[in-house]
Amino acid sequence: MTARPLRVSAVEPLTPLVTRFRFECPEGGRLPLFSGGAHVVVELPDDGVLRRNAYSLISDPLDGSGYEIAVRREDAGRGGSRFLHAAVAVGDLLRVGAPVNLFALDLTARKHVLIAGGIGITPFVAQVKQLQRLQLPFELHYAARSRAEAAGLRLLPDLPQLHLHLSGEGNRIDPAAILSGQPLGTHVYTCGPQPLIDSVAEAAARHGWPETALHAEAFLAPPAGAPFTVTLARSGRSIEVSPHQSLLEAMEAAAVDAPWLCRGGACGQCETAVLSCHGRIEHHDHWLSPAERAAQTKIMPCVSRFQGSALILDR
């Protein structure tokens, strides 16, 4: 994944927790265009630790003058978002990868129902621009605690298709109600906390929707855990994975060639063969099947961990 240095051209707090960042070419050129739902991976050099975090693009997909993201500060996170909020200012250079879209609109759909929870609004901000340009029927359901915390309201135009569900005001989002009565050919896209994604999937299944009409993106950060050692067969060495470091990050820190794409357990690019496993792999991904997880012959290093006496990988 080739990243290039981009200049931070705007830093705008939207709410106490969410800040918008704009990136432009340092030489003033055009950036590659993308489609709504795409994300970029931003390299964050945080005091000796290099993090790579994926952020959904909120800017207009057909505007190559810059990329924009909106980042929620996670105080209990690993530090990437805190670094962005505290240490990045206009004029700084950050390395940003090319856009990748794992959450695209299905343009064969007759109608698009977008369901956002909290900071999950971000991919829809770009998708709405695309839907409006193509004049496609859609609904946008935005669940947040309060108007003050709903950062997306500062990013979205005044939309008749927007339905706000503010739990703090007693209006919890009701997936079954949203799905009810939708015309044939409707597709549903959910982005937000895992419980929201699960409740939409559960309501859809209960009402007979086929899975092909459902799409979801979870913002997964690699979970922390106990440290563990891994042997890399092809490299002929052992590496230590520390509690707040993912297995992928540990391999990168050891200059081992390891493929990746989404860094969030969703895309399958980092799938690695397990040559030997004495212990238990802690699967945190959304990629492997239940059978593959039970067999412990594959692992997704970007998010998964291990507890046991020995793990040998084909890297």
Binding site: L179, P183, L184, G185, T186, R206, G208, W209, T212, A213
Partner: protein
């Protein structure tokens, strides 16, 4: 009559995996002739599904109408042909919402035509369930003149529109609900292979 076992073929050749009840969704059901048996078997698995369903049946000489009606679906209608029930079927599709499942059972022509109508109405392919019983006569489109010849049972056959001799391919168009027929003697006019009966 049991479900027809078709010889594995190219990926576009449709397969009919059989019907299983999907709980909770609105159900639209369409069957012809011995396809009714598949719906009756479905009712044995889930009586509530049939009770809430809109069932349309084309008997085509088979005696299952009474047995289907006795399942007391929410709506039950019998019609003499696909063309005759088509306005009702189209209205049911137009009124349907996401979550509706379509259960099709019977001849390949019925399944193909009903699937094409449903896809055109926006029903997702994954919401269509099918079970093949009875006739394997094919709806064939002549790739040359585009005319459709119904009820083809031999390979090769004569196009009912332009008169060319066509061989039967397993390639199937979901949009048209028809298999593809291609001229068999383009390079050797008049020299055609022996007629064979189409087998499953």
């Amino acid at each position: 009559m049991p479900r027809t076992e078709f010889t594995p073929s190219i990926t576009t050749r449709p397969v009919y995996p059989g019907l299983s009840p999907v709980p909770g969704a609105a159900a639209l059901m369409l069957a012809d002739a011995t396809g009714a048996e598949a719906l009756i078997e479905l009712a044995l698995q889930d009586a509530a599904l049939i009770a809430g369903a809109h069932v349309i049946y084309i008997p085509a000489g088979a005696p299952f109408g009474a047995a289907l009606a006795a399942l007391h679906p929410k709506q039950y209608h019998e019609g003499p042909s696909f063309a005759a029930i088509l306005p009702r079927f189209r209205k049911a599709l137009a009124d349907a919402h996401m979550g509706t499942r379509l259960y099709l059972a019977g001849s390949e022509t019925l399944i193909g035509c009903a699937t094409a109508e449903a896809l055109a109405a926006g029903l997702p392919a994954a919401a269509i369930h099918s079970d093949h019983r009875g006739s394997i006569a094919r709806r064939m489109q002549c790739v040359h003149c585009k005319g459709i010849t119904e009820g083809v049972t031999t390979d090769p056959f004569t196009c009912g529109h332009c008169g060319l001799t066509l061989y039967v391919r397993d390639h199937f168009s979901r949009r048209l609900g028809a298999f593809q027929g291609v001229c068999v003697d383009a390079e050797t006019p008049g020299i055609v292979p022996d007629l064979q009966e189409i087998k499953p």
